[in-house]
Symmetry: C2
DNA sequence: ATTTAGCACTCCCTTTGCGAGAGTGCCAGT
DNA sequence: ACTGGCACTCTCGCAAAGGGAGTGCTAAAT
């Protein structure tokens, strides 16, 4: 990794910044005129040649301006990563929105997706927090009609799962309530692990429901992450990368398949800590469909208890200086909310 | 409305069909060669002139082929509306998917959106069924942590609403259960209307919860329709209408704002019966953003009890012969499911 | 009376050529 | 070490030219 002189650094930064909002290859003359650096275009040309040599810039064709390479973006991002903060007023506006919304996970996720999309002008994706070990807290059985029973399962930490069961034959609400009460006494505080070793129950209904509870708890833990929320798809459609090339558009397909999206999120953030951002530029050789895109992602939540992931996808040319602080800030905010929600346990 | 000769009719059908999958203006020669009608291109030209005169076709410019007008599409649609049926094998595949999915509304809606999108290659939208009058069936109060209480409200017909309440001070589960039991005895079978006239309760907790229940029931009835599910956005992005013109792309913005989408669905289907399809071609002068699009929609469910809406959006050039039967079939399927779900009441 | 063949015409779309403009690399001079 | 100058390259936009597809009309054939 060659080192850059101070001048090369500022030049590189300027070029990338210019390209990000013009989407046009940037040339030496333009640079010398628009930004008041006291350098002639010739000097800039020399430096550009050096930067090109080092792999930070490239020319679409001989005698066009320069365009940043993935390497260039990476350098740019690593330079401004730490310093960047969202303006305080914006921070306040966002927090305010969160604290005045209805205190429900669903609302928070939707809001987070919306904030991310609007601030970054990219496509946002938020995966709901997912518990790592689930402990039983309470089960409720409510007869809805005929043989159908609504089972509501509440976990320590507040996660709720509801499911409709269809029993072999109609059962009165009283009997259901009895079963629920017995199971509550028996299971409170237990993990799925512990429950699976319990011996058989005398009442056949108790036994059936116990199995269903267990199955549901397992499902909760096994699924890789929580539900997915996205927003801002249309933001990106007007960007030249997406409206012109088929290739970038293919990246959007990922957002229609929750499974592959979860995959991407968990895979790329699995080895990173809560609080640390990750910036994937140009698919990093791994994801073909993202070759023209960048992805800024972060984990949030309370490690060991419940964590989720969120991020923003945009063209490689996206406004990192806006996206990165936003992702960081929203991740922090959600971490606080999750932690508030858990602490009361 | 001028009447068409049999020959003009078949010609019009062919032209539209050809344009639908070529996206190119279709000329007389091409028509004479590709489809083995025993007519010379000259004759076809005469008929085309007549059809143009009548307003079913138009020429982008002198001496280009013909393109269907909105009027043309309307004729086309009204001609094939009734006869069109989905092939039996497809019908079976789809039903099969529904009956083997978990019997939950959420699953069904997602599946319906997916089937519609795949079959029609357009963007699908499904609004969950919404009850017209809600009667109370059961309330459950579960302390989750500290002052937070999960309220689960079940309506006659099986609709479920859950909400987290934050009380002024912590309350023991026993007391919550007592309140729930008392309210259940009191409210079963009542409408929101009736409940609002009830006199005050002695226990202050009972009173508070009663108000919250009432509020929630009102919210359920008031919201115009159920939650919105969509799928297939990317299907449409590769169509020339969307990848070339900004205008068509603007139509997709509607899909990012659940509110405006619900509006559209309810407004356009409010005066139509369950089971009747509606086909909006080119926004029908009403919706500017849909000028280049068509929309096939239907209501489903059980009138008077619970109904929802679903539909497919595509370019005006969409494959009606595939979309219309699919929408009709899926609407029927969902109607059956909803009706099964209600009948047991 | 209807259909068809032929013809002249119109308009789009692509190709071609050319000049302007922007940018580059390099060299020589400050 | 920087800058001015110069020759060179390549894109882009524009205009002109040619091909192609399609049309409308008329006159002949069925």
């Amino acid at each position: 990794m060659p080192t850059l002189t101070e001048r090369q650094k500022t030049l590189l930064m300027l070029i990338i910044r210019d390209y990000i909002d013009s989407a046009q290859p940037v040339g030496s003359k333009r640079l010398a005129e628009h930004y008041h650096i006291n350098l002639s275009s010739a000097t800039i040309r020399n430096e550009m040649a050096a930067l090109t040599e080092m792999g930070y810039l490239r020319q679409p064709h001989t005698s066009a301006g320069r365009v940043p390479t993935e390497e260039g973006y990476r350098y740019f991002v690593s330079e401004m990563m730490h310093s960047a903060e969202l303006p305080e007023t914006v921070q306040h506006t966002i927090s305010h929105q969160f604290y005045q919304s209805r205190p429900e996970l669903d609302q928070w996720m939707t809001l987070a997706a919306s904030v991310l999309a609007n601030q970054s002008q990219g496509v946002s994706v938020v995966a709901a927090p997912h518990v790592e070990t689930t402990k039983f807290k309470h089960v409720e059985l409510i007869s809805t009609q005929g043989r159908q029973v609504l089972m509501v399962l509440v976990m320590l930490g507040g996660e709720v799962s509801q499911q409709i069961l269809t029993l072999a034959e109609p059962v009165a609400q009283e009997r259901l309530s009895g079963t629920a009460t017995r199971l509550n006494g028996l299971l409170t505080g237990q993990t799925a692990q512990a429950i699976s070793t319990l011996t058989a129950r005398p009442d056949p209904l108790d036994q059936d429901i116990l199995l269903l509870v267990l199955q549901d708890m397992r499902r909760l833990v096994e699924k890789a992450s929580g539900e997915i929320y996205t927003d801002g798809l249309t933001n990106v459609l007007s960007e030249p990368e997406f409206s012109e090339s088929d290739e970038a558009r293919r990246a959007l397909k990922i957002f229609e398949e929750p499974a592959s999206l979860q995959d991407l999120l968990t895979k790329t953030t699995s080895n990173s800590n809560v609080g640390a951002l990750q910036v994937l530029i140009g698919g990093e050789g791994e994801y073909d469909d993202l070759r023209q895109c960048s992805l800024v992602i972060a984990r949030y939540g309370v490690p060991g208890m419940a964590t989720g992931a969120l991020g923003v996808l945009g063209p490689m040319r996206m406004s990192y200086s806006r996206t990165i602080p936003t992702v960081r800030f929203v991740a922090g905010l959600l971490s606080d909310l999750v932690s508030d929600n858990i602490s009361g346990e």
